[in-house]
Amino acid sequence: MAYIYKRSEGLRDIPMHYCPGCHHGIVHKLVAEVLEEMDLLDEVIGVCPVGCAVFAGDYFNCDFQEAAHGRAPAVATGIKRTHPNQPVFTYQGDGDLASIGAGEIVHAAMRGEKFTTVFINNGIYGMTGGQMAPTTLIGMKASTCQDGRSAEQAGMPMRMSEMLATLDGCVYAERVCVIDIPNLNKAKRAIKKAFEYQMAGKGFTFIEVLSTCPTNWGMTPLKANQFLKEKMAAYYQLGVVKDTAQEVK
């Protein structure tokens, strides 16, 4: 009797509050699996955001801190600088990271802080009920742009990976998604690579996961996946944005 698949040791045996089909749950699993595979669960310190993933600290089977909205990169800096040999990561949504926390993520990247950021870009403020995020696509509806986002009113959506990649301290940035198994596998490899670079002391590593928020997109989980594939990935190109070890593609 052998397990072909069971819940990673990296997650605690607690039901998650995420909505049906929300990608937060999937990405939690990938991070947990990577940490387990790399045998880092006893060492790692995670930082969760304010956003739907605010409960991540309850779900992961490792030490965690809950940061103020947007400040996870500053909190992680406080941790990593004082624990240079332990793995540290932040897990942040797009409201948290790209809006209120833009300054903190930019500066963590600039300083080349040696932690990993897993960035859940679902183009919306999930937890607060579906307001526009800096990453909301043009034309996409949200509760603070009910006719769809317009560039005139709110600007063009931010490509965080590309922006952070301009900073030398950011050594690795890749954009992935988890809408199907090949992409999910790629996402997991990316997360693993980020932690490997981190442990090798290379610098700041950044994984942007295009994700769905079926609830606030007003779609079924499967329709949401399709929207991600067709619309979101068209604007936010999947793939390695920067990899100093491997030369930029």
């Binding site: 397990y3 072909i4 069971k6 819940r7 049906p20 929300c22 199907d180 999910l184 989980p221």
Partner: protein
């Protein structure tokens, strides 16, 4: 032999697992309602399962466990 276990009380009927199953053998069970109010997912043709684990990998809520027995 392959055993697929569903932790049905945790299933949220998102159907992401069903969508990635290469054998199309997963479906919601309209006859059951769990405590959360969902019709939970189940396997309708265990025999066809190839144990690829796609469903389990994809499930956001870790509902599915797969064993070789």
């Amino acid at each position: 032999m392959i055993r697929l276990t569903f932790d049905t009380e945790r299933c949220k009927a998102c159907e992401l697992c069903a969508a990635v199953c290469p054998k199309h053998i997963l479906a919601l069970n309209a006859d059951l309602v769990n405590l959360k109010g969902y019709h939970p997912m189940g396997c309708i043709d265990m025999a066809s399962c190839i144990a690829c684990a796609s469903c389990a990998k994809m499930c956001p809520d870790s509902v599915i466990t797969i064993e070789k027995i």
